[in-house]
């Protein structure tokens, strides 16, 4: 009898395992395209968490449902259940298993974090040398996406760009050619190093397709590195609430082949600076023109940035 119960449990666990694996594979489709090397790392790690999470969630829910179906008291049954107060072996097992699980997940997260090798804030020194990423590649099992990242990182010279966030605009300055733009152009397969600055409040640099985010703190310059690996147009959003027109504080990120990028930079350098379109300013002006101003008072937007290159209208990137 006991053996039969154990076999049944084992079969159920295996079935649940396969189902969790399937859900873990589905998790890749819940996200925007993988436009940066870091995005691939994120998706792999997320998939592990999703698989284990599914297993745990159903592993708890199914016994509850089973109890509800088969351990119900009859309508006139007023007896008590068996007086079982605990089981030390079981309790030790379900203390140790979660400990191992969270340590395993922490280790996996740590390794992914090392591979991403993001420059965090507080490390405010510009290091003019390629990022050290050795620990990531000392692994025995080097699968192909990792190899792609490895080549991408090792061969890539670093492209430096200054980013300024304010209420509510993004301005990108390319020291190479002294170009300013309200659209972030990036060369594909190059390590990008951004210097993030804010002129007023906290902002957040967030490109969902890159799976990367960094808060920007006034009075600090924060270095931030990543490697785009897929051409296309993506959306940059402000991820840290920055006031009334926070939602409108967006910009397009154009990842393009290196030669196109160089061409764009050269073209932009010849343009005289002009005031750029700004959605926050437009919304603010539209509101101020009304006879009766409704709503609560807002901080007024910073003046439109003067840039060499600005897209003529709103950001137009496809859903990503």
């Amino acid at each position: 009898m006991k053996l039969r119960a154990i076999v049944t449990l084992a079969v159920l666990a295996v079935l649940l395992g396969f189902f969790s694996l399937w859900v873990a594979q589905q998790s890749y489709s819940w996200m925007p395209p993988e436009a940066a090397a870091e995005a691939k790392l994120f998706d792999d790690l997320f998939s592990i968490f999703v698989g284990l999470g599914t297993f745990v969630l159903l592993g708890v829910t199914i016994p509850i449902l089973y109890s509800l179906l088969f351990h119900r008291a009859g309508k006139y049954d007023s007896s008590d259940g068996p007086p079982i107060e605990g089981n030390t072996t079981l309790e030790v097992i379900w203390t140790i298993v979660p400990i191992l699980l969270v340590l395993g997940l922490s280790t996996a997260s740590y390794r992914t974090y090392q591979k991403m090798a993001i420059r965090g804030p507080m490390e405010l020194v510009h290091l003019h040398m390629p990022q050290m990423v050795e620990p990531a590649y000392a692994e025995p099992f080097d699968d192909s996406p990792q190899r792609e990242i490895r080549t991408a990182l090792e061969t890539a010279p670093i492209e430096e760009i200054d980013v300024t966030a304010k209420q509510w605009a993004w301005v990108f300055h390319y020291p190479d050619g002294d170009v300013t733009s309200t659209e972030l152009h990036l060369p594909v397969d190059r390590r990008i190093r951004l210097s993030l600055r804010s002129e007023d409040v906290l902002h957040g640099f967030y490109v969902p397709a890159f799976r990367l985010k960094q808060d920007i703190v006034p009075n600090h310059t924060i270095d931030f590195e990543f490697t785009p690996i897929r051409t296309g147009t993506y959306r940059l959003r402000d991820s840290m609430f920055s006031g009334t027109y926070f939602a409108a504080n967006q910009a397009d990120v154009v990842v393009q082949p290196v030669e196109d990028y160089r061409q764009w930079l050269a073209d932009a350098a010849t343009q005289p600076p002009t005031p750029a379109y700004n959605r926050a300013a437009e919304e603010y002006d539209r509101l101020s023109e009304q006879a009766v101003v409704r709503g609560w008072k807002s901080v007024s937007p910073a003046p439109a940035p003067m840039v060499n290159y600005a897209p003529k209208q709103k950001p137009s990137s496809p859903p990503a």
Binding site: F49, G81, G120
Partner: protein, 483 residues
């Protein structure tokens, strides 16, 4: 303002009220240790409420910086008035902090000093343990939040420079002050709810709480670990790598004591004689929701994952699965379970079950889509969202309306059964516990004679009496104990 009002004026007061009512009953005390302090602490809550609500009517409108009130946005004060929405908000938060600290002193003293004779720590009900664990967090955490609020208030009004970057302050420092309390605050809310599960499940499954001692001690473990996790709210903020890694591990460790509790609850109902009453439905629904919230919580604790989903709707979805899916459902479980205790009348089961079905479905419809929108990259706190997120937002809105509707059967049930409901008798659940030994509703001073406890709680299925024979109030009660 939604967050501030819901937390400071709904969730906290309801839970503290429930604790204030039940703890003395459960430990066999006539009242809390410091009744006057209790009154002062209580009457500060309406003041907090008036300040919060009044802020909608001052020129310039209420606080516009979210419930975190991060500087510098919270210091911008576009109207230039001294009395502005942010000012009132900060004042309310500071007062609320003082009120809750007083409450915590009272709870901790009561639980330490006023347990009935014979009620040793391992004869103390799990709910009391969890309230103690929660109130200990209030004692160490709230001074930090209150001090942070006062400093921000000084920055805003008299121009000090604790957090204002243009005057040399450090806005990140505020985040530490805020989260040092405000993350454990979630445990302050969820711990008593864990306690509710631990009380409700044994009664309605007619089985002892499985691993009672471990469940009780794990509450205090949560108190300890939760003091060391706050930086996980700041992974995308100004945190160096070592801090990110350290707090990632501590955050994930919270999964261990909570996991122990969940497994203990599942084992409690396993093989029991389950009665699917409304409190049982709410408790089990809340446990399932909590496991889901725990899974997404562990994801958020992982630094690389958090860097993508931090400050997106994924967090909003996770948070509401904890706050609503677990805490609010758990509060409902507790309210239905102790409704006969509080009113002496039975609620209507049919309405209660309708309430549960609507609430559970509404929670899923409202908050699951938020996770999807967050993974796609929709930031939280946006006033307008981009078209690609429309589907998920429409679903969430429908769920929100459903949740609104779901409160109607609850209100109808409570009001009508309080007035017209069938008399419940003192102990309609045949539950074991000191609170069920006295009459329902209890007299002003709870017990005519303080009982002497002689065995651990949750003696379902065994014939040991809970209290010494001379102390039982009436013959009917002693019968129910012997079962």
């Amino acid at each position: 303002m939604h967050g501030s009002i819901m937390l400071f004026l709904w969730t906290f007061p309801v839970l503290v009220g429930l604790g204030n009512y039940l703890v003395p009953l459960m430990i066999g005390a006539r009242d809390m240790a410091f009744p006057r302090l209790n009154a002062v602490s209580f009457w500060m809550i309406p003041i907090v409420g008036i300040l919060m609500i009044a802020s909608f009517f001052v020129p310039g409108g209420p606080s516009q910086s979210g419930w975190w009130a991060y500087p510098p946005v919270s210091l911008q004060n576009p109207t230039g008035n001294l009395i502005n929405g942010q000012f009132l908000w900060l004042l309310a938060v500071a007062i609320s902090g003082v009120s809750s600290i007083m409450g915590a002193v009272n709870f901790v003293t009561t639980i330490f000093r006023m347990r009935a004779p014979g009620m040793t720590w391992f004869r103390t009900p799990a709910f009391v343990w969890s309230v103690l664990a929660a109130q200990l967090i209030q004692l160490y955490g709230l001074p930090a939040l209150t001090a942070g609020a006062v400093m921000l208030l000084l920055d805003l009004t008299v121009g000090t420079s604790f957090f204002a970057p243009e005057r040399g302050g450090n806005p990140i420092l505020y985040q530490h002050f805020f989260w040092f309390y405000s993350h454990p605050a979630v445990y302050v809310m969820v711990l008593p709810v864990f306690g509710i599960f631990s009380e409700v499940l044994p009664v309605h499954a007619r089985k002892p709480l499985f691993g009672y001692r471990v469940i009780a001690v794990s509450s205090v473990l949560i108190t300890g670990i939760s003091a060391l996790v706050w930086v996980h709210h700041m992974f995308a903020s100004a945190t160096p790598g070592w801090m990110r890694m350290l707090f990632m591990v501590t955050t994930m460790l919270v999964g261990v004591p909570t996991g122990i509790k969940v497994f203990g609850w599942v084992a409690t109902i396993w093989g029991g004689k389950i009665r699917l009453t409304t409190p049982m439905l709410f408790a089990l629904g809340a446990i399932v929701n909590f496991v889901f919230a725990g899974v997404t919580g562990i994801m958020l604790g992982s630094v690389p994952l958090d860097i993508h989903v931090n400050n997106t709707y994924f967090v909003v979805g996770h948070f509401h699965y904890v706050i609503y899916g677990t805490i609010v459902l758990g509060i409902y479980a507790g309210l239905y379970h102790w409704f006969p205790k509080i009113t002496g009348r039975l609620y209507y089961e049919g309405l209660g079950k309708l309430h549960f079905v609507l609430t559970f479905l509404g929670t899923a419809l409202c908050f699951v889509p938020m996770h999807a929108a967050g993974l796609m990259g929709m930031p939280r706190r946006v006033a307008s969202y981009d078209p690609e997120f429309a589907l998920w937002n429409v679903m969430a809105s429908l769920g929100g309306f459903l949740l609104g509707m779901s409160t109607l059967p609850f209100i109808l049930n409570v009001v009508s059964s309080w007035i017209l409901g069938e008399k419940s008798g003192d102990n309609p659940w045949r539950a074991i516990g000191l609170e069920w030994l006295t009459s329902s509703p209890p007299p002003v001073e709870n017990f005519e004679e303080i009982p002497t406890v002689i065995s651990p709680p949750y003696g379902y299925g065994s014939n040991e009496p809970l209290v010494a024979a001379h102390a039982t109030a009436s013959p009917t009660n002693s019968e129910s104990l012997i079962e």
